[in-house]
């Protein structure tokens, strides 16, 4: 299975702190994406990084990709209570058509 494994499974931090989540996957990818899901809601796309990219930024988000280690990290800086959600990485494989496979997810709780 190409499903990514995310680490940690759960993370609790104080508002203003940074949150780092890691994703490892098994085979070569076309791109890797990060999504956020508030409890019981749909998923929201955060950022996409292609296999030939190493780092991308979007607002308070920073994503890195290390294809040699088959891993990615998502850093949320200066976290807010509103960042409380589950975060999933998702991988798209070369030649995989429209198939996007989600990792196990990290539950982030940001406390006031």
């Amino acid at each position: 299975s190409q499903q990514g494994e995310e680490d940690p499974q759960a993370l609790s931090i104080q508002e203003g702190e940074n949150a780092t989540m890691n994703c490892s996957y098994k085979t070569s990818i076309n791109n890797l994406q990060w999504y956020r899901q508030n409890s019981g809601r749909g998923l929201v796309h955060l950022i996409l990084i292609r296999s030939n990219e190493r780092e991308k930024h979007s607002g308070r988000l920073r994503v890195t990709l290390d294809t040699s280690k088959k891993s990615s990290s998502l850093l949320i800086t200066a976290s807010r209570a509103a960042d409380t959600a589950s975060y999933f990485c998702a991988t798209s494989l070369p030649g995989g058509g429209n198939k996007l496979t989600f990792g196990t997810g990290t539950q982030l709780k940001v406390e006031l």
Binding site: N31, Q33, Y35, G40, G42, L43, F88, G97, N98, K99
Partner: protein
């Protein structure tokens, strides 16, 4: 606000019922998806339609029957479900793939239909 609309938001059905979940998008996307998500688990891909044709079926039981009447609509017909099929069913769409057919970009998700099978 999501631009993918799913109805109904909640559905309770018995094991002998026939019901349908509906999904609609008006972004001109030509790929549409059904995912199933159990509590505290990641979404699991069920079906993908590309240009209104079924392109991926992840070995889903036949009691789930997808339909794509046109480029804006996606249905999931449900029949003779089991209690273990209770889950959040998520619809998503994305721009059409390039001619290489292997460039899944950003997915836009609906808010989901929460299904309970009694």
């Amino acid at each position: 606000d999501t631009e993918v609309t799913q109805t109904p938001k909640h559905l309770v059905m018995g094991m002998t019922n026939k019901k349908s979940l509906k999904c609609e998008q008006h972004m001109g996307h030509r790929a549409m998806y059904w995912y199933k998500q159990k509590a505290k688990k990641p979404p699991e891909l069920m079906f993908v339609y590309s240009y209104e044709k079924l392109s991926i079926n992840e070995s889903v039981p036949s009691r789930f029957s997808p339909e794509c009447p046109n480029s804006s609509l996606l249905n999931l017909h449900l029949h003779a479900l089991q209690p273990e099929d209770s889950a959040l069913y998520l619809c998503a769409s994305s721009r059409s793939p390039g001619t290489s057919g292997a460039n899944t970009g950003e997915l836009f998700f609906g808010e989901g239909s929460r299904l309970t099978v009694l």
